[in-house]
């Protein structure tokens, strides 16, 4: 039978050991719960995406790899990724097709208006130019109280018809398009932006960097070749 003094001498070690074990266990369980499970689009969802006329796509329709992004124009990580994605698009050329879907968060004050601006520019055939401009100027317009004059000035820079741009920004057609993108994202389980699907397979958030994305695209190209 150990004495009270002996128990007291090793008790702190037991307490500290227990807390360490508990911290590691809870941390590991939390990590497992938080790790986003890979999502694969069903054939129905893929076909639905292709059938939409108003999809914003850049690159060859016959490209072996399709990268579908759900983005929020006011989200800084989306802004950072936009530059890298542009470089990737240039490097992969006809082997890559990029699709953009709006997924504006309500917590981002001007994200929805920015999505409307991009869609309104799209109605005049300049979606991608506005997309690139909004991401490039994100730091400026994000801090502005009234973004409408800024967005109109961007439309002016792109040579758009400004009256039509302003009318389109508040039109039902533009709102419905943003809504439909968001509904598609929600149906696919999108919770964060950017969320990227490469050939209908979701990319984990830890791989949203140029090196990991290139590796995922390369793997998708190899897979496509092997299946042909």
């Amino acid at each position: 039978m150990p004495s009270f003094k002996a128990i007291k001498s090793f008790l702190p070690f037991v307490i500290i050991g227990l807390v360490a074990a508990l911290t590691i266990t809870i941390g590991a369980l939390l990590y497992r719960a938080k790790r986003v499970a890979a999502v694969t689009m069903s054939e129905e969802q893929t076909v639905a995406a292709q059938a939409t006329d108003s999809v914003h796509a850049r690159g060859s329709a016959d490209a072996p790899v399709t990268l579908e992004e759900f983005g929020d124009f006011q989200c800084p990580p989306c802004g950072r990724l936009a530059g890298s994605l542009h470089e990737i698009e240039k490097d992969y050329g006809t082997r890559l097709r990029v699709i953009f879907r709006n997924f504006p968060f309500a917590s981002h004050e001007h994200a929805r208006e920015a999505a409307y601006a991009a869609e309104a520019a799209g109605l005049q055939g300049h979606f991608w130019e506005m997309h690139d401009l909004l991401y490039r100027e994100q730091a400026n317009w994000s801090k502005t109280k009234d973004v409408q004059p800024l967005f109109t000035s961007y439309a002016g820079m792109l040579g758009l018809n400004l009256d039509r741009f302003k009318t389109d920004m508040s039109s039902e057609k533009v709102k419905e398009k943003v809504e439909s993108d968001q509904n598609r994202g929600e149906a696919l389980g999108v919770k964060n932006t950017p969320t990227i699907f490469i050939n209908n397979q979701s990319v984990p958030p830890t791989s949203l960097n140029p090196i990991a994305l290139r590796a995922a695209i390369d793997a998708a190209v190899r897979e496509k070749k092997a299946s042909e």
């Binding site: 007291k8 001498s9 008790l11 702190p12 307490i15 500290i16 807390v19 360490a20 911290t23 809870i26 941390g27 939390l30 990590y31 938080k34 790790r35 986003v36 929020d72 989200c75 800084p76 990580p77 989306c78 968060f105 917590s107 981002h108 919770k191 964060n192 932006t193 950017p194 969320t195 984990p204 958030p205 830890t206 791989s207 949203l208 960097n209």
Partner: protein
């Protein structure tokens, strides 16, 4: 000479502390557990890649996804987890009368206090955004600092 060797022995082994001091160290250990939980949650969030994307509170994501959220590639949250665990360890040993643990505890809490001041400055003046988890951690550190300062130096 005998008194010198006695003091060395007291530093490495447990000595009896007044009940009030033991309670203070036990409270410090318990409070540090709240900080440990907070820092562990943020570390997991970082490892799962959640801080590299938007969702939830935009201010939190602005802070946790900023360049200030890592030191030499190591997430600040992970360093915080180690720091809170160290505080818990030293406070537990101090409560059991280990003299040297009291010094380690005071030094650790002092470093954490200075780090907290820096991160509050970063949030207020450089990022212009406050993350509620970081503010919770700051409150815990201030509380720990207050308790350590208020604890009598000698048993």
């Amino acid at each position: 000479m005998p008194s010198q060797s006695k003091s060395r022995v007291q530093q490495s082994t447990a000595v009896a502390l007044p009940r009030g001091t033991v309670i203070v160290y036990a409270v410090v250990a318990l409070i540090s557990l709240a900080g440990l939980a907070d820092a562990t949650y943020l570390t997991v969030q970082n490892l799962a890649g959640e801080t590299a994307v938007c969702g939830g509170s935009p201010d939190c994501f602005r802070v946790l996804g900023s360049v200030y959220s890592k030191i030499a590639g190591i997430p600040v949250a992970a360093i915080g987890t180690v720091a809170y665990f160290a505080v818990f360890t030293f406070a537990t040993f101090a409560a059991f009368g280990y003299q040297r643990a009291r010094t380690f505890l005071a030094v650790t809490v002092f470093v954490m206090f200075l780090s907290t001041l820096w991160f509050l400055y970063v949030q207020a003046f450089l990022l212009h955004a406050f993350c509620r988890y970081c503010l919770f951690s700051a409150a815990i550190t201030f509380l720990l600092t207050g308790l350590i300062v208020a604890t009598p130096r000698r048993p």
